[in-house]
């Protein structure tokens, strides 16, 4: 049978089946099992109302349990069992830990986890702030938001054309290489590729160091410390910022000392270390629109009085933005950040399509796919899946904690 016709049947059958299930099960409950009439009417109504929620919930709960909750446990089980089904304890994890590719994936994933949410949120915030102030803002928003509709694979094709390399001497058709070949090592190149990046890096490092200071200085005084959990989070964020500034200092030294290969086309996707960043740009490009939409709504929700007061006090637009608006939308920034973090942890298509993990660009999700479906090593594959699960667990707990707080 033609799959399209089959699909039509499924739509009709599925929708009809769903409606039929809900209708008939309710009918059965009301007419046959506990009819709200006769001598026991009151008791029957109560009993029917005890059962009804579960009729409504059953199909959804069944799907959720079987397709999401059960696999977590099954994957855990698979990860501690060998190929023949015998219990092997942590052997699979040990095998995984002895593989260079696994540690490469972990290192890359950590970079992805820092870079993509940070850049997407920053660009999103910038775009939100800019587009809210101009007449053609909605059009601009639409265009920045557009990559959201493009599949990761489609985005990979789009960006692969940007990164394309032709042999030296022939015309470059990749935008990045064409730009790169404009630089000839003259004074313009030094300004554009050394001075400007160095200034940007220095100011970023300064901002990160200021952030560390702002986070840690209140902790010296006991009475301003607050909740121990918050202290732990602050210290963790400060450590992360310290790591980022360390990395950026290395970049700064590299920028100032490296001799750049002017005039030769570069193969960006096989450049070790940097190629991971070229892949990250693709995801940042997709996710910025999401961050922009949410943050723009949050910015509009900032009470006008606070801004008016700041203007009357003589604050400039930058002070208004960083000291009045940003602190007030911080909870939304956290939501955006965690949502993008989850997307990053699952990123698979971009790496598969652009490099397939070659040239040291492997990430966990693609490593896992490799193990499961290419090496057919389900034990190690499941072990790496559990690592991904472990990484999302803090976000999971945080979300559940917040949801429960709201319910009360």
């Amino acid at each position: 049978m033609n799959p399209a016709i089959q699909a039509l049947f499924v739509i009709v059958g599925g929708v009809g089946g769903c409606i039929g299930y809900f209708y008939l099960s309710n009918l059965f409950l009301d007419k046959v099992l506990y009819p709200p009439s006769g001598p026991n009417a009151g008791r029957n109504i109560n009993r029917a109302n005890l059962i009804r929620p579960w009729l409504f919930l059953f199909p959804a709960l069944f799907g959720l349990s079987l397709y999401l909750a059960y696999p977590v446990l099954a994957t855990l089980w698979l990860s501690v069992h060998g190929k023949t089904g015998d219990f092997v304890g942590l052997d699979n994890y040990r095998t995984m830990a002895s593989e260079g590719k696994f540690w490469e994936s972990m290192r890359n994933n950590m970079l992805w986890l820092i870079v993509v949410p940070a850049l997407s949120t920053a660009f999103g915030l910038l775009a939100a702030q800019l587009t809210d102030r101009i007449k053609w803002g909605n059009l601009a928003k639409s265009l920045i938001f557009m990559p959201m509709a493009i599949s990761f694979v489609g985005a990979s094709v789009i960006w692969k054309l940007i990164y394309d390399t032709r042999p030296e001497g022939s015309a470059q058709i990749g935008l990045l290489n064409a730009l790169w070949l404009q630089f000839d090592g003259g004074i313009g190149s030094v300004i554009a590729l050394k001075v400007v990046p160095a200034l940007i890096l220095i100011s970023t490092i300064a901002a990160a160091l200021f952030g560390i200071w702002a986070l840690l200085s209140p902790l010296r005084e006991v009475e301003r410390r607050g909740h121990p959990g918050i202290v732990a989070v602050k210290i963790a964020v400060a450590a992360l910022l310290a790591f980022v500034s360390y990395e950026l200092v290395i970049w700064l030294v590299g920028t100032l000392t490296a001799t750049l290969p002017y005039g030769t086309p570069q193969t960006f996707l096989s450049m070790p270390y940097w190629n991971s960043y070229f892949l990250m740009i693709v995801l940042v490009w997709i996710q910025t629109g999401f961050a922009m939409v949410i943050l723009s709504a949050a910015l509009r929700g900032v009470p006008e009085e606070t801004i008016e007061a700041a203007i009357l006090d003589g604050a400039n637009p930058f002070q208004i933005f960083f000291q009045i608006k940003v602190p007030q939308i911080m909870p939304t920034v956290v939501v955006v950040w965690t949502t993008i973090t989850i997307v990053v942890l699952k990123v698979f298509d971009i790496v598969l399509a652009m490099t397939n993990g070659q040239w040291e660009t492997q990430v966990l999700a693609n490593y896992m796919y490799d193990k499961l479906f290419r090496s057919l090593d389900w034990g190690v594959g499941s072990a790496s899946a559990m690592i991904i699960m472990l990484l999302v667990t803090p976000i999971l707990i945080w979300n559940v904690y917040n949801a429960r707080k709201e319910m009360r």
Binding site: P331, T339, L396
Partner: protein, 379 residues
């Protein structure tokens, strides 16, 4: 707001400029691929897409001469045109790849086999020989020519009808449609009932169930691949559409329930209580009151789920299989990137066929998409 502060113009200009720059950065990559998809393979590799509108001087791929031989003045002559009327203008030409620019337009070259060849600037050529050339291999001509901008729909008709990497895009398009549409419609219905129960019905364990749904919201679907594949094999579904539909339905469920519950919980309590007092059952309340009122959020979720199922690669790869008749658009595109990685005319057109539908949905229903995003994450 800024008017109060007075000096506005300079800053306003900076805002306009930076926004324009940002928009350009975000649109250019897609625009590049779109422009490329309307150019011929030769044009794509000889010049960047940003030069598509300019006349460009470039060395074209070698052209092999051909045509009917005519006897004229005791000579055998083949006449014809190198281009089929594109208006290109040849500046230099040659007959060997070592010296592709040996002659100027209008000059006559003597070939190793004794024929003479003349090529005019407009592309007209005359190959003449004292003996018949019927058994000879026709010579190749290398030309450097200025070609005017030229766009074609050929790439699209090419990828839609003829199989690339074992499967035509048209077939993959149908497969994707077959995956996406049931996977969008069915979860809405199932989730709507569950969301109503979680929002408006009283029963023990309700907060716990909400927490359960919120927890499943972030569980990576990577964990589900092997256990579910085993399950599908055990109950006889194996790899096929049924498995994909079930998987997509369930993977979309936490988001659906979460979105719909948040929205339904915000509906006015009076309406529902009045209906209850009037003797409506929960089923009637749901169908007649809640469902129509929830239309905006249903639309939001439908768009999400459609974009997600249409753009998905992993679920389709694992649950549908990788055979040529089962590949969806994204899988087909990944295969093309592997096997036809340098053929940008094919890649770009294929990519746009797969991007077109989600983009159309996006621009048509953006309002609902934004609304859904906000309902899903802003508190």
């Amino acid at each position: 707001m800024d008017n109060i502060a007075g000096k506005k113009s300079a800053l306003q200009w900076a805002v306009h400029l930076s926004t324009a720059l940002l928009v350009a950065l975000w649109v250019l990559p897609t625009a590049g691929l779109l422009v490329s998809s309307f150019r011929t393979g030769d044009q794509i590799v000889t010049s960047g897409w940003w030069r598509a509108l300019m006349t460009q001087e470039s060395q074209l791929a070698a052209i092999r001469l051909g045509g009917e031989e005519v006897e004229k003045d005791g000579q055998f002559v083949i006449e014809g045109n190198l281009f089929d009327g594109q208006g290109a203008e040849i500046s230099r030409w040659g007959t060997s790849s070592k010296e592709p620019e040996a002659y100027a337009a209008g000059e006559t070259a003597t070939l190793p086999d004794g024929q003479t060849l003349t090529v005019q600037a407009a592309g007209a050529f005359a190959l003449a020989s004292a003996t018949t050339m019927a058994d000879l291999r026709m010579p190749r001509v290398f030309v450097t020519a200025a070609t005017p901008p030229d766009f074609t729909l050929g790439n699209y008709s090419n990828v839609i009808s003829s199989p690339m990497a074992g499967q035509s895009i048209g077939e993959a398009f149908l497969n994707t449609l077959t995956v996406a549409i049931p996977s969008t419609i069915i979860p809405i219905l199932v989730a709507a009932f569950a969301a109503y129960a979680l929002a408006w019905m009283d029963f023990p364990g309700r907060p716990l169930l909400v927490a359960f749904v919120v927890a499943l919201l972030v569980v990576p679907l990577q964990l589900a691949l092997i256990p579910l594949l085993q399950l599908h094999n055990a109950i006889g579904i194996g790899k096929g559409y049924l498995g994909v539909w079930l998987a997509h339905t369930s993977f979309g469920m936490p988001m659906a329930i979460y979105l719909l519950r948040n929205y339904m919980a915000g509906l006015p309590r009076d309406i529902i209580e009045n209906a209850r007092v009037d003797g409506a059952t929960d089923f009637q309340i749901f169908i007649k009151i809640i469902l129509p009122l929830s239309f905006p959020v249903l639309a939001s979720f439908a768009i999400f789920q459609f974009l997600w199922t249409w753009n998905d690669l992993l679920v389709a790869l694992v649950f549908l299989g990788t055979g040529n008749d089962q590949q969806v658009l994204t899988g087909n595109l990944v295969n093309l990137m592997g096997s036809r990685g340098g053929d940008w005319e094919i890649l770009s057109a294929s990519a746009f066929v797969s991007i077109a539908v989600p983009l159309a949905v996006f621009f048509a229903m953006q309002k609902y998409l934004v609304r859904g995003l906000l309902a899903g994450s802003v508190k």
